[in-house]
Symmetry: C2
Subunit: 480 residues, 2 copies
């Protein structure tokens, strides 16, 4: 029997995604609004998920020989100006330090919006010969891009991310790195976040300022809007030329390095939180959940016996590599605490009362299905592992289904407009490649080209807007 409790009012996901999203982030203590407009505090529960992302990403990077480093926060404006498209792209979003140590600075300093320029100024100093290549460096840091309209995790003036920056002897090697990074991101989303993604190249108007080509992964949110989930850029020699990152190649000749940069930010957590979850709160996929099992002793009598049985369970699970928390608080009420852990999206709740302690069992409640199962103590570890794995899989399958159901081939512009005005989702439509058509579609439907998926084959078709001949179906969606 679930005891009666006073339920903290959580807004309903089924009624309004956006209201629920900000509410659940605050109530689950993932994050909070900070005193400076457009910034937020990532609280320990939210940060623990970011640490898990770091752990996974660090393992991928280590396997490829990418090392972590740290470059300064402040970039001289003159450095930023070296690549023309880059400075033009970032100028409207800059935060600028004009006073340092009580004095007005002669050369104002830009708070990094990204680190290409300051890193490549150093690469030019470090690289002389093909023997110094490849340079494979990543940073975990904070960056600032001034934003007028902000949204927790999804768009904030300051965010945390990793930015990988590599330099190579050949164009091919660089391109391999671009796709390797993209695949790491895909794995994090699909294997850990249970969130299937589409990946492809960006159009000219959507690519990174200064890149030769941008590759992105895109995730579809429950409201049918797309979230640009991570990007990987082929920089070609666009930066190595102005920054003069030259090397003597194997033929003894001077050449410019081929470069890549790629980043995954705390924005990804926003996609994770928004995707899963229901009217009762978050649902965290078990592989990424900081707490996978919460054990709740329910004291009626025999308090000591119940508590020591809970400790036994905790130890068995912990030794089995499962992340466990015992909640033995006496207040608030059990019901309130059930509710708290539901809001926080913990995959499994173990209820342990006098009955369970007596017959050495445990009553398990599964967060996403609400299913209630009684496990015997001897089977507990194995069954828990299975339940965590099947939950991970179930969430992914649900999202795959959602993605499939909300991806449509469209060949008529009226149909395109109608879908964008109602259910949204991904529309696969021919586009001639003209930025004028792209801009007009955006103006009329709010939909942008998200990417040209890598898997798209060449086809014969007509641009959805102008009717001129087109060779590929692009993926269109309204975007966060």
């Amino acid at each position: 029997m679930k005891p009666a409790f006073e339920k903290k009012e959580l807004k309903k996901k089924s009624e309004n995604l956006s209201d629920w999203y900000t509410d659940v982030i605050l109530k689950s203590e993932l994050a909070d609004y900070a005193p400076v407009k457009g910034t937020m505090v990532i609280r320990p529960y939210g940060y623990a998920i970011w640490e898990k992302v770091q752990e996974v990403m660090n393992a991928y990077m280590k396997s490829a020989g990418v090392g972590n480093a740290y470059f300064p926060l402040f970039i001289p404006h003159s450095l930023l100006e070296k690549e023309k498209e880059h400075v033009a792209g970032f100028s409207p979003e800059l935060a600028i330090v004009t006073i340092g140590g009580g004095e007005k600075l002669k050369d104002p300093l830009v708070v990094r919006p990204t680190s290409e320029t300051i890193m490549y100024a150093m690469y030019a100093k470090w690289v002389h010969s093909w023997r110094d290549l490849p340079v494979l460096i990543n940073q975990w840091n904070n960056v600032v891009r001034w934003e007028k309209r902000t949204y927790p995790f999804i768009r904030t003036s300051e965010f945390l991310w990793q930015e990988g920056h590599t330099a190579h002897e050949t164009q091919k090697e660089a391109m391999d790195m671009v796709l390797t990074a993209l695949d790491w991101y895909r794995q994090i989303y699909e294997d850990y976040f249970a969130l299937p993604v589409v990946f492809g190249t960006k159009s000219e108007s959507e690519k990174f300022a200064g890149a030769k080509a941008t590759y992105a992964i895109e995730a579809l949110m429950p409201d049918g809007k797309a979230l640009q989930a991570a990007t990987s850029h082929n920089l070609g020699q666009n930066f190595s030329k102005p920054f003069e990152i030259k090397f003597q190649n194997r033929d003894g000749k001077q050449d410019f390095v081929w470069q890549t940069s790629w980043g995954l930010s705390t924005r990804c957590l926003g996609g994770l939180f928004m995707t899963h979850g229901d009217d009762n709160g978050l649902i965290l996929p078990s592989k990424i959940a900081p707490i996978q099992v919460v054990i709740m002793p329910i004291f009626q009598k025999d308090k000591d016996a119940i508590f020591s049985y809970c400790q036994e369970l905790k130890e068995v699970l912990t030794n089995g590599g499962i992340r466990v928390r015992v909640d033995s608080r006496e207040e608030p009420s059990v019901g309130r605490r059930f509710n708290e852990w539901e809001v926080k999206g913990v995959p499994l709740r173990f209820e342990v009362g006098q009955k369970e302690t007596g017959d050495r069992s445990v009553t398990v409640v599964v967060r996403d299905t609400g299913e209630k199962v009684v496990l015997k103590r001897e089977q507990m570890l194995v069954e828990t592992e299975k339940m965590l794995a099947s939950m991970q899989n179930r969430l992914l399958e649900t999202q795959k289904e959602f993605l499939k159901k909300n991806t449509h081939d469209v060949d008529e512009y009226d149909k395109f407009k109608e879908i964008m005005a109602t259910s949204r989702g991904y529309l696969r439509a021919f586009w001639c490649g003209d930025p004028v058509c792209e801009a007009k579609i955006k103006e009329e439907t709010k939909a942008t080209t998200r990417c040209l998926p890598l898997e798209e084959k060449e086809e014969k078709g007509k641009c959805i807007l102008c009717g001129k001949s087109a060779t590929h179906r692009w993926l269109f969606a309204q975007a966060y």
Copy 2:
């Protein structure tokens, strides 16, 4: 036989510590100067050591229930002003953002020099009852303190650190936390850095701006100057009152929380690098070295056999938990590469040529002693573990000896001045507690009170300067 090689000129530690220090940092690729004056780049080899510090510190913090979080970089100036001593202490060192998103800001933003104020504004929102306590939060982040005279790692305008900030029900609990953090720092220095420290309370003039009391650990550098190596502050209710961090206590009454803050920065790496090392380069204690063993195949003939034997050795060591790198580059010359790894301070070098491959042995060269030992393949793992452990211990013992030899009881001011003008080191001297005497001693000898060591007992004595009665010997030294 060591082949002849062209040695890259490294400055000599035995001739000039300061020249050697900056030179070895650049040549070992720990760090480099960045384009903005007073800032630096921490390169992958240096950053890997910081990651090791993070790993150790995270384990300590986790054991005490301290969680990591992230608070914004920008602090409104009005928040900083809430604690008068705090803002007065930090004002001369601030970097200030006055332009954001192309517009002049109405309220300029301070780039955090430390996060007490922005964190405690949030704590006030989160804490209501004793049930919300303790709050145990840490951040790993970057902070900016404008500096005119900078020195790699030791003093830079931007640095990385962890800042722990806790709030408690009682004064006693807070004081326990202050000392627990101090002891974590002592362990990192002594157990990992092989660097013995002294710890104690700071004088009024040396304490953290806004603290009730500051506790510090101090390390003695080879030139006899002290390095403030980490600090832990008892903030009392100095911040909770202006920030109104109030809670209902167990008696149902309103009270202000008791707080602590404590930090360890990348400065600690400077102390580590400066302490060990010799004319041939760095010496990294084995517990903190990113690479503990470098295996060098020395190809004459039978290249494949040598290489596959090296891979076998690597696998055995790696499986034994040892951090290994195989250097199978063909250029530069073997001698140059020996030299490179020496400069980088790798504890053990394994030379593997035709002879070693043939009789399944390995020739080991120990970085700090220069000793050369031949190990049989079967004993290799066990012997390597022993050699790494004994090196760690040897370095610590050497430093303990150094510390002892350079700590003097002094009761005459002439003697005090003489030592400070020559060999320096720590001087244990009575001080009456008057800031006027403290300031005069500093002016005349450049020595400051480093701390009143926690182990110091009350004694009867006379102030080294004014001769008035004093109760404790303080530790004096010139400081970095």
